[in-house]
Symmetry: C2
Subunit: 342 residues, 2 copies
């Protein structure tokens, strides 16, 4: 019974095959600072100058993975992961430099891997981010058949004097919102639980509910919209206005994220009627009888990014991005919730 | 049936509790270049100068996770992850700067989380690496109860003229080996398969076999030795000799890794009798009737790092590290395997 690594479920040849399928797409992410080839023990990238600050972030895509698998839309989560990381680094004022991914599964399916990681490479290429390396882990028995998990790591840079953050924010600053494309990559466990229970009540399957129409798409399509990357809008805003801080509305929703862009003693006053909550949130919230507060504590509710600008730059900021929303302003805070909806 | 995110299995309070338990240990990893606090959208780190090259690496610990869980040794895999990443960056000549982690599970157990990520923080503090951020993902139903996965991400830096790699290597260079503490973090799926089959044959449990004595420890202890971090030895070697390239022997064993440190047209000649293969490899190999070639293609077989130095520096290199091994030399290569054992 001579055993091999392959017989134990780990096939290094399969991993090589999977990587070969995306080699050309990864190559297209190369930028001038990249040194040497992919496949070294570490990816090499020429350091920006000492006046720069490196901004590092790591993210996953959560249980959106399960929906992507169910509806055979693997590219979405690959793209999502890059966009999520880029948005997080951008929230500190940074331009993205390079990205690395971690892909883990029980038994590597080269086709699925190539769709997921290929989509990451394409997203990196579009955004000018170098895909500098990655780790592909085949762990027999650790993941259910067909499932996989992803983590992304991104490093960006910003010159020290353009670093954004709470310490720049002043009372009276304007809050500019940028619409989301849907849930982005957060709150999917709640969404799936709501849909599963509703399916059970209606004697239907989850798949039936996902195929139901919702405005000009299906529920499934709405849930698998790609996490919007705000890099172009960030650049336009940065050119038009003095940016103070940015909040990327991800896990924890509004109350979980907007205060991270505000200093102690200040809160946010948000006009609830300044944008329309997309149908997918209303559908899920109503189906699950989710309270209004819980909806805003879990989902982005239609706004994926909140940018804090000086009050005097409000109009210039709003004019610089087509779908920017005049959300509200920074107000004094004493107790209770930091984000108040009016 | 008003649903909440918590009822759907994601409890942000539990995540906050878990993080609070390790806050002080993370704080101890702070170094001068770190800007601001943990918990921003991105971790901030002052860039090294433009003459530096950033070296980025990502790793997991594979199915060693399952053994650590079975034997309640969660700290080991946390430490392993940091050591693995540090060694990989070091293989390019880099000193480590900062680390980020990804921890994913179905239902976060704050105690387990604190043991794993706390151990990462302690390893970072010992090695002078800043733990700059992390992502904790609670994904109900995606992982089996009690299981979790880890990914680590590390950025280091090396001045451009000290970058190591294949292009520096010449025929006749010396190969210096540094002993491993065991399997490190690779080949555990094969090890577990071997032990499970052996347990079945012997009408025993996996746990019984792990409790069996092996030299001065048990099989389980040998398998859960911490992945050795070679940073101190790397520094000593760098001071003593002209380093050319380094191979970190991880997934894929000798043939999968040593050639990554060699240029085309060159191979490695290794004297098999220059070190003694540790008992754990012999035990596993014999139990599984694993061929000699497959053992060296899967496991490190007792050498975790191979350092290429100029032939004239061989003796100085060997003298600089107590347990360094005079493995062999770089030789011309024409066809077949790049690593030849003599």
């Amino acid at each position: 019974m001579s055993l091999t690594y392959k017989a134990a479920g780990v096939d290094i040849g399969r991993a090589d095959d999977a990587l070969a399928r995306i080699r050309e797409r990864v190559r297209k992410t190369r930028r001038a600072e990249v040194i040497g080839e992919i496949g070294q023990f570490g990816g090499l990238f020429a350091s920006p100058g000492a006046d720069a600050v490196l901004v590092a972030t790591t993210d996953g895509v959560g249980t959106k993975l399960e929906l992507a698998r169910l509806l055979d839309r693997h590219e979405v989560v690959g793209t999502d992961l890059v966009h999520h990381c880029v948005n997080d680094a951008m929230a500190m004022g940074a331009e993205p430099l390079f990205f690395l991914d971690y892909f883990a599964t029980s038994r590597l399916e080269p086709t699925v891997f190539a769709r997921v990681v290929g989509a990451m490479a394409d997203a990196c290429a579009r955004l000018g981010v170098a895909l500098l390396g990655g780790e592909t882990a085949e762990m027999p028995g650790m993941y259910a058949p067909g499932t996989y998990d992803l983590a992304g790591f991104l490093v960006g840079a910003v010159s020290r004097d353009r670093l954004l953050g709470p310490d720049r924010v002043r009372e009276g600053d304007a809050l500019i919102g940028l619409p989301s494309t849907g849930l982005h990559t957060n709150g999917y466990s709640l969404a799936r639980e709501i849909l599963s229970r509703a399916a059970e009540r209606q004697n239907a399957t989850l798949r039936d509910l996902l195929a139901a129409p919702l405005e000009r798409m299906t529920v499934g399509e709405a849930l698998l919209s790609v996490h919007r990357c705000y890099l172009p809008e960030f650049r336009a805003l940065r050119d038009a206005a003095e940016l103070r801080a940015i909040a990327h509305l991800t896990g924890g929703g509004w109350e979980g994220n907007l205060p991270r862009a505000l200093p102690a003693g200040l809160g946010a006053e948000i006009r609830r009627d300044s944008w329309q909550v997309p149908a997918i949130f209303t559908l899920l919230g109503d189906l699950g009888e989710v309270t209004e507060e819980e909806r805003f504590d879990t989902w982005n509710m239609g706004i994926g990014l909140v940018v804090v600008v000086s009050a005097s730059d409000r109009d210039k900021a709003l004019a610089s991005v087509e779908d920017a929303v005049d959300l509200g302003r920074v107000v004094p805070y004493t107790f209770g919730r930091r984000v108040r909806f009016v």
